[in-house]
């Protein structure tokens, strides 16, 4: 009989800090990202984007460019291979932006109009710059604002109804002793992973091979198979290392272009998007305009909650930023109404970006709660405790676990909340007015079907294969610990291979669902393997492999409100001379299930809080109304937090057990940590200055013009 282990089974891998498996490769530069893998005969593609916001391409003057040194091809709507975008993939129908060069219509500024392929990237760049494209321009509408006449309520989807409600809202508002009615806006925000999207494609013995940077290699492989009408088994996509994603790295024009070009040229082609091109091609977070109305009894108990959110989408594809969804989880009220509305404009399609819906939605709702606390004269934490629901406020379903109040208690203790003077504008440190603020956080903790395999090798090690993606989350390391614990062996005996579509279908790294979904598949495969090993008597040279597929088990999971929760605390300084806001310290306490790797989990949680800080103070894309194009679409024009903006930030967690959970209570942690941060900071700015800032980002000009209410 073969045993899993040496003399004694090893447990406790999960929950013990472990440095990253690929850490050595990352600190020495040995880790190869998508644009780093060399190929003989590699050709370079450079994309040309539309300079008009709406109209038609009259002509693409390819001939002069084809005569330039090194130029191999100019692909455009007149000569590109046909693709089929009429299908429904893993996450829905594709954004038609990926069906490049199929017609002459231009639906937004920054739409792909041509790809120049050349021997070197310098030649491709110059030729792309020199390519003359003639357009017939048409008037565009890119103005986003509350009350846009094109506003509509979308159909909704199984995961999120567009509109939900109960009770008589107007009656409860009228009956409320205290009412908050406020409008909030958040700007257009861009993922800007530090690694721009890149893909190399080539045909190898009848198979299409793509080296990519993505959040799910089977997902991208299936999309490419659909688009090019290929047998799914003939497409292999790999993404060994991914330099950040945050929702932007699915199927995007670069992979499609690389496949088109390699098909035409019969040699490997790499397409790397430039930083500026990312701003129109890989999605972004829609701006939002939100109205929140809260009605409460004098003690702060909610009688009415109304959250109406508006986002934009493109005219070629609908995307709904579900900002109003948060209240359906967080707070009950006698009358409860939440709706996400949309307006379609001549702009690129927005997409998921770290905590879609929840990040902008929490800014509005958690600021409104703070305003209500002020009006009621109730401590903001006590107000939340007073409105803690027993079950899903809209669904009526029980919570699988809900420890948000424990987060507030632990956070308040460590942050020193009890000593806080609730009056605004009372504290000063030199030129800085000082304030503190808090907000709640929550994010769904979903799971999706995945497959995995685990092989017992003859040398006593184990190989896990799963099409997970490590986009910086530490997934490779977390899955190693999960597999080691299930196998009862030391993590050093487990080799985890990820991000290869040949390993089979698995959930993407997104929606805070990756680790939970993959962990289930890995532990299921381990269970199978252990049964095989008990039966067997020795391991053959090829090893013994067990496979899992969690589709059935996922489908059988009982209906619950499953979420991670948290409490955010921030202290800010506001310079009234310059209007600058600086965050001085932040603390986040989370109830996020069982923490797999405390080292990387803390990094991820703190990283999310940095995103929240950045959202509160810096991030904002500007669209020029006249041209319909973004201006300042680069990292000097689009600011996200630099090192100097980020103070000591601490993240920690409370116990959050779920004994009924088949995945051992593991929840996703990638998104809950950004939720509520911008609200906590805005609430702290109010506490410092006495002025409510309801529009993000809280820029110096806004602070200067708003002044202070108490000085």
């Amino acid at each position: 009989m073969t045993t899993m282990t040496g003399p004694t089974p090893v447990t406790g891998a999960v929950g013990t800090a472990h440095t990253r498996i690929e850490g050595l490769d990352k600190v020495t530069g040995a880790a190869r990202y998508a644009g780093d893998v060399p190929y003989a005969e590699l050709a370079h593609g450079w994309l040309v984007l539309s300079t008009i916001a709406r109209g038609r391409i009259r002509s693409v003057e390819a001939d002069p460019v084809l005569a330039m040194p090194g130029v191999l091809a100019v692909l455009h709507h007149g000569n590109a291979p046909r693709v089929n975008a009429d299908y429904t993939g893993l996450l829905g129908r594709p954004d038609p932006t990926v069906a490049v060069f199929q017609h002459d219509r231009v639906p937004f500024a920054g739409w792909p109009v041509a790809l120049v392929v050349a021997e070197t990237s310098e030649q491709a760049r110059e030729a792309a710059e020199a390519l003359v494209v003639h357009y017939d321009e048409e008037p565009h509408d890119v103005a986003f604002f509350a009350g846009h006449p094109g506003t509509y309520t979308p159909e909704g989807n199984p995961r999120m109804q567009a509109e939900a409600g109960k009770g008589d809202l107007e009656a409860e508002l009228t009956a409320s002793a205290v009412v908050v009615d406020a409008e909030y806006t958040t700007p257009q925000e861009h993922h800007n992973p530090l690694e721009p999207h890149a893909a190399m494609a080539r045909w190898d013995s009848g198979r299409l091979e793509v080296i990519d940077s993505n959040q799910g290699s089977t997902w991208v492989a299936e999309e490419l198979a659909n688009l090019f009408s290929l047998d799914p088994s003939s497409v292999r996509v790999r993404a060994e290392h991914v330099g950040g994603a945050f929702g932007s790295k699915g199927v995007r024009p670069h992979q499609v272009l690389a496949v088109m070009a390699t098909t035409v040229l019969h040699r490997p082609v790499r397409v790397v998007l430039t930083r500026r091109q990312l701003f129109s091609l890989v999605g972004y977070r829609s701006p939002t305009a939100q109205r929140v109305r809260l009605g409460a009894d004098p003690d702060g108990r909610l009688r009415a909650l109304d959250h109406q959110a508006l986002n934009l989408t493109s005219k070629v594809h609908e995307f709904v930023e579900t900002s109003a969804g948060l209240g359906r989880v967080m707070y009950d009220a006698d009358a409860h109404h939440t709706v996400n509305r949309v307006v379609a404009l001549d702009v690129p399609t927005p997409t998921w970006m770290r905590a879609p819906g929840a990040a902008p939605g929490s800014f509005a709702l958690e600021c409104a709660l703070d305003e209500l606390a002020e009006k009621c004269g109730v401590d903001p934490i006590a107000l939340r405790a007073r409105n803690e629901p027993d079950a899903g406020p809209v669904s009526g379903l029980p919570f699988s676990s809900r420890n948000v109040l424990a987060c507030f208690q632990e956070g308040a203790r460590r942050f020193g909340w009890a000593d806080r003077d609730p009056r605004p504008g009372q504290r000063r440190d030199g030129r800085w007015l000082i304030g503190t603020g808090t907000a709640a956080a929550t994010h769904p903790s979903g799971v999706a079907p995945s497959t995995a395999s685990v092989t017992a090798e003859p040398d006593g090690t184990f190989t896990v294969r799963i099409t997970a993606a490590d986009v910086g989350t530490g997934a490779r390391t977390a899955l190693t610990l999960i597999a080691a614990e299930a196998l009862e062996v030391e993590p050093e005996r487990v080799r985890v291979r990820i991000a290869d579509s040949d390993f089979g279908q698995a959930m993407v790294a997104g929606g805070s669902m990756g680790t939970r979904s993959w962990a289930w598949a890995v532990t299921s495969a381990v269970r199978e393997l252990r049964e095989l090993l008990v039966l067997g008597d020795g391991i053959p040279p090829e090893g013994i492999t067990a496979r899992s597929n969690t589709a059935e088990a996922v489908g059988a999971l009982p209906m619950r409100e499953r979420h991670a929760f948290g409490a955010q605390f921030a202290e800010v300084g506001v310079d009234v001379v310059t209007g600058e806001v600086r965050v001085r310290r932040m603390l986040g306490i989370f109830a996020a299930g069982r923490i797999v790797n405390p080292l990387t989990a803390r990094s991820q949680l703190v990283g999310g809080m940095v995103w929240g800080l950045s959202m509160a103070l810096h991030e904002e894309a500007a669209r020029d109304q006249a041209s319909g194009a973004l201006v300042g679409a680069d990292l000097a024009g689009y600011h996200f937090a630099a090192n100097a903006d980020v103070p000591l930030i601490e993240a920690d967690w409370v116990d959050d057990p779920d004994d009924e959970d088949p995945v051992g209570g593991i929840k996703g942690i990638g998104e809950v940590s950004i939720v509520g941060v911008a609200a906590a900071i805005a609430n702290a700015v109010w506490h410092a200055t006495g002025v409510r800032h309801r529009h993000l980002p809280i820029r110096p000009d806004r602070v200067l013009l708003a002044g202070t209410a108490t000085a």
Binding site: E122, A622, D624, Q625, A626, A629, A642, A644
Partner: protein, 329 residues
């Protein structure tokens, strides 16, 4: 980026001979020029690499001034003990700019010649009178939160991005240059041309001239000086408003004051009206504010940049108050 020739030069006469080619550009650190070549804004036919010219020295002059070679890097300038001792605001201004990496590359001469960061200028698809004369100014009715409030025109409202230049302007720097016809010099106050209807003409340098250095005359007032920069993140961002100030007071009265503003005009803006108003006035917050108002009376705000008037007024009062308190210590 179009193809171009490259020539490294080792002496000034060799450089200016090549520089007579109208398609040529001098290459210093390249931190602005190479970026603009990538975006297609600059399309030189020849780069003359001046990094190895013997112009990288920073030499104190008699009486307390400095002579700064054009190819000295920003880092060398900011780290130099005599710069830090005699003109602390200049060291602070340099350190407030860009990043450690860029300061190591960027040269003093190149800093003066850097182009505006107006996002319409750097995007060739947009109209811009500075880049493409006669094409219009998209910023006037567009995104102009960080555009000029002083000295601009309807043809261009872009601001000069330099921090260093603001301090140099306050301290009466003189630019020296060389052409094929011989040397010349220009006070920084006359170095940048008014915007008017020719925003594409940025400096008074003769065609093909090579900046060889900057001379800072002795300025004892500069020993009590400060640069304060305001931006939309704490570091690695261009200013939305900045101030270089130096102050000498005696018995509560202003004997000498230097004031220059950044990110408010197409050039570093010497606040001479404010200086005049303050000289001989009591060193109080009231007179600082009155002086700021005297300077900013000429301000013309666009719909989205009016905050800069408030910001600069606040900065004048705050920084001069700080300098007054420090001088009293």
């Amino acid at each position: 980026m179009r193809e171009f020739g490259y020539q490294r030069v080792f002496d000034v006469p060799g450089a200016v001979t090549l520089g007579a080619d109208p398609e040529a550009r001098y290459l210093g650190g390249g931190t602005n020029l190479v970026d603009l070549m990538k975006s297609g804004v600059e399309r030189p036919g020849l780069l003359i690499d001046v990094r190895e010219l013997p112009l990288d020295r920073i030499v104190p002059t008699e009486g307390g001034g400095l002579r700064i070679g054009a190819t000295a890097t920003n880092s060398d300038l900011a780290a130099h003990p005599e710069v830090r001792r005699r003109y602390p605001a200049l060291a602070q201004a340099v350190l407030a700019g860009a990043s450690g990496q860029l300061r190591n590359m960027a040269t003093v001469g190149g800093n003066l010649l850097q182009r505006t960061r107006c996002a319409y200028f750097t995007e060739p698809a947009q109209p811009c009178n500075k880049r493409t004369p006669g094409s219009g100014c998209a910023a006037v009715n567009g995104e102009h939160r960080n555009h000029a409030i002083l000295g601009a025109s309807e043809h261009c409202v872009a601001v000069h991005p330099s921090d260093m230049g603001v301090a140099l302007t306050a301290f009466d720097a003189v630019v020296t240059y060389e052409t094929a016809d011989g040397p010349g010099e220009l006070p920084l106050a006359e170095f940048y041309l008014p915007v008017g209807d020719t925003p594409h003409l940025e400096t008074a340098l003769p065609s093909g001239a090579l900046i060889t250095g900057i001379t800072l005359p002795p300025a004892p007032v500069a020993a009590n000086s400060r640069y304060r920069k305001v931006r939309e993140r704490a570091s690695y961002a261009f200013a939305i408003g900045s101030i270089a100030a130096a102050l000498d007071t005696r018995d509560g009265v202003v004997r000498e004051v230097r004031l220059a503003f950044g990110a408010v005009a197409s050039r570093p803006w010497r606040a001479r009206a404010a200086e005049r108003a303050l000289t001989g006035a009591p060193a109080t917050a009231e007179s600082f504010a009155a002086a700021a108002d005297a300077e900013l009376a000429a301000a013309k705000a666009l719909p989205h940049n009016g905050y800069k008037v408030t910001l600069l007024r606040n900065l004048v009062v705050a920084v001069l108050t700080e300098l007054t308190e420090e001088a009293a210590r």
